[in-house]
Point group: C2
Chain length 538, copies 2
């Protein structure tokens, strides 16, 4: 890993000078997009995927320096170390092998003496068989009814990726299964789901690597009690996805069975493993899940092997660095012009912000620059009628626009104003990046648009399982490549520990408060005490 | 409206000096929260609502200057002009009377010679009767079946507020109606909803003030065609919410009936009008909708009349200004520790960013400071397992935490680690603001927390209809009060026009492309031409 202060690199200075140049009027995007061959020079194609960064505030020189930066930081080498099973998660002394979950024997990836591909494949075969048995009615609930309602109990990385993929592929969910996500410890979440499911036909999937996640266990316990109250045998209605030997790895007694996950795949990168595989195989069928893996694998191979100048995730990562550290944008909007991709922003929000929201590098040195930006987004055109007022005339932020050439429901062809709804959607997707880039003069200052607002457009051919896999892998690779430029560890998350520790202390006080009605002010100070009193006297 | 440059006010300079002081170690939040009576001094109560800003980076002097700023900008006077029906939306020469939608005769609010309270009440009586007739089966679909599936066709302000309220009150949705929102012109959105509804039992509510919104009309046309294809009589399945005399105001021929909306209530402020009232009365019952209005009215009265130092929305607005223009935070996280409030962030995102994402003041002068920030959020504790890594150790941003003392589903009482799930949720809600404020030293730099990250905690007694009304009105008032400090118009949205215009041009080219297979490059340049070719050859 690079040890030097990134800002002392000569190329960093060159980029800073370029950023100053980009403040000048002749570098306004309205001029850049008129350059000859602009699109050709600043776009790249792969089968099924097209990346257009012609509306980013870059020129050939900027891109050249950015590739130089990537080279000097050895980011593609680091990426290959990652996919080869090296322990790139240094603070936790672990490998980071989400890419191995997209590989199949006879390929191998060894971590010490374990073959991760084989381990992951064994589990895959288990949930392939399991999902078939559930679909065929060989495995049923305790009253003999087939399963129909699948509830995933898991939080953060144990559900966001799966939720994204399940929404994206919902039009192909033909297994007659309903999929629910019980993430929050909020009892109102449980109550809402409890009203919708048929307990006799419900399969609960409890997902936690350590099987110590407080929210997940609280929900699992509540679900277990609920099933007992309904007179059902919970052991016939629960599976777990967890580490070998964890408290939840208990296939003999209290549950149907466990599927293993491994310490070399972190939560936010885990949708390709059993974390996504078990629920998605039940919801979509195992074959479709495997096609999703194959799409992701294609993009993984591309990220590993493509030359920097043709490498889509690397280009995305470097533009991220440029926009953040040189042009000083603090946000990234993710706007899919596709309702099935409506959960992509929330997934990338976690993936990116938990990976790259760091303040120290891998060597423990304070970073001299900001790393992660704040990711947010909603589908377009909805976003146009929500926060795009600010995007056009307020605080500027870069946008990733995502388009899908072929919709999933193509049987509806009604035309309004001469175009289908899908064409109308695209008329907007085509226009927004141009409007943001070009701007517009007007005599009325309220109707003036300064433009020069950068965006990328990523186009998928369709929303097949393969496409969704490519999209997922693109963002995963882009996220870790950005981290490798800064030299930070995108695989740990020590920043969540302090809040957990305080919550544990407060919980203990709640328990003793309940028993002894003690004044709690002494332990946590008057503010916490106030809230404890308010809550516990309600 | 104030004409002066806000940054030339003496008090602006005083606040700038205070902001410098707040960079110093002794003003770190970990010290501020230990001050005697900190919570008492920096919190305010109203019936059902508690606002705690003790973890904001403020002191008595800062708040004093902020109130002075508010006074010098006349913001509460402006607010009262708004509620009195003055044409505070200057660029469009309109009043802004969402607060009148929460008032009942014999109260009156005149705009020129029209009484807005009476107009709004008349429509309210119409949808009160209509919802009763639907619930009682007096109004049915064309095959004689009662309605069960209600689909709202509307985008932006025509659905985000209603979606928020319907989710918040979902536990009380006891009218056996299913509510869907068809916002996006994406045909996959239509396809997904079409699969779920029973057309014979479906009532479509088309909401558009002008009845010219492209997406909404495209969806309405598609829905109309769909109903005809199913052999149903669409006129018996559609209602509209629109302006008097608009193309959709046509109760005699093609639809069941129209409910009127008025030009003095903008989309993002319209959930209290027929825009929210028609679907919410069907979904929740009219009485519950009226209770929601009464809660909002309580907060409106408070915002109009409370002294600045006790005025919750004004305090929220001023802290927004302080965090944005003086401490230079560019984002606001909205984190409700309550799953039923899961759509609050998306609603406030629109309400706030579309209102305050402006670059000129009401007089057309370029603003000397940034106005709106970027609003985003997810429910807690989910957010803790997603982007809170960055909140604690990355780029800081202020947070509005929202807690609810009594959950809606209180029949589930299972305990884990000695506490109920609701208490676990609260243990986290209590702890996160403290962790963000205090931070923590550690020998390991990766486990160090700098703290000093500001937040507000807003506590509601419960999720009754009244509570949800108070919460909505709090954010509406806070949003416009911030705008009045800057002297911007929070009621227009000219920033969305350029994109619409370009989309209209592109659409025309699509139509002629289809007919004449013309090369399109000449009209819109090579980038747009490329996308047109890609799409239309797919």
């Amino acid at each position: 890993m690079p040890d030097s202060d990134i800002t002392r690199l000569a190329v960093w200075d060159k980029l800073k000078k370029k950023a100053e140049e980009f403040e000048k009027p002749h570098k306004h995007l309205k001029h850049l997009i008129d350059e000859k061959d602009r699109l050709k020079r600043f776009s790249k194609s792969l089968p099924g995927v097209f990346l257009d960064y012609s509306r980013q505030r870059v020129d050939g020189e900027v891109m050249g320096y950015l590739f130089e930066l990537a080279k000097s930081r050895g980011v593609l080498d680091r990426f290959r170390q990652m996919t080869d099973g090296k322990k790139v998660n240094g603070t936790e002394n672990r490998a980071a092998l989400h890419t191995a979950a997209r590989r199949f024997p006879p390929e191998t990836v060894y971590i010490d003496d374990r073959d991760a591909v084989k381990e992951l494949h064994t589990v895959r075969e288990q949930f392939q068989r399991f999902s078939r048995q559930v679909h065929d009615g060989e495995i049923r609930g305790s009253t003999g009814k087939t399963f129909r309602d699948v509830v995933v109990i898991g939080i953060g990385g144990s559900y966001l990726g799966t939720e994204f993929v399940s929404c994206a592929l919902e039009p192909f969910a033909d297994r007659r299964m309903h999929l629910y996500f019980l993430a929050n410890v909020d009892i109102d979440d449980f109550g809402t789901i409890a009203e919708r499911i048929d307990p006799e036909r419900t399969l609960w999937i409890v997902i936690s690597k350590s099987y110590t996640t407080t929210e997940t266990l609280a929900n699992a316990n509540q679900a277990y009690a609920f099933m007992e109250e309904k007179g059902l045998e919970p052991s016939r209605h629960f599976v777990t996805v967890t580490s070998r030997g964890s408290p939840g790895d208990d296939p003999e007694s209290h549950i149907i069975r466990s599927f293993h996950m491994f310490d070399y795949i972190g939560g936010r990168y885990s949708v390709s493993s059993a974390v996504g595989g078990v629920p998605l195989s039940l919801y979509l069928g195992y074959d479709r899940f495997e096609r999703f893996l194959k799409g992701a694998r294609e993009m993984d191979i591309h990220a590993e092997n493509a030359a920097p100048e043709k490498n889509l995730p690397l280009i995305g990562a470097l533009i991220g660095i440029w926009n953040n550290n040189f042009l000083h944008y603090s946000n990234l909007g993710i706007i899919p012009y596709s309702s099935p991709l409506r959960k992509l922003p929330a997934h990338i929000q976690q993936l990116y912000m938990e990976s790259n929201g760091k303040s120290v590098d891998e060597n423990g040195n304070e970073l001299p620059v900001s790393s992660g930006v704040i990711v947010f987004g909603e589908p377009g055109t909805n976003a146009q009628h929500s926060f795009f007022q600010l995007a056009h005339q307020g605080r500027p932020f870069p946008v990733d626009f995502i388009g899908v050439l072929k919709p999933s429901y193509d049987q509806y062809k009604n035309r309004s104003k001469g175009v289908t709804n899908h064409q109308e959607l695209w008329a907007n997707l085509i226009s927004q990046p141009m409007a943001l880039a070009q701007g517009k003069e007007d005599e009325n200052p309220a109707k003036r648009f300064e433009g020069n607002r950068p965006s990328t457009t990523l186009v998928l051919d369709d929303l097949s399982a393969e496409s969704v896999g490519r999209l997922l892998s693109y963002y995963e690779a882009r996220t870790v490549l950005e981290a490798f430029v800064w030299g930070i560890n995108p695989f740990d998350q020590f920043g969540v520990e302090l809040g957990k520790k305080l919550a544990s202390d407060v919980r203990k006080t709640m328990v003793s408060y309940g028993e002894e009605k003690k004044d709690t002010g002494a332990l946590h100070g008057p503010i916490v005490s106030f809230y404890l009193d308010r809550l516990l006297s309600t």
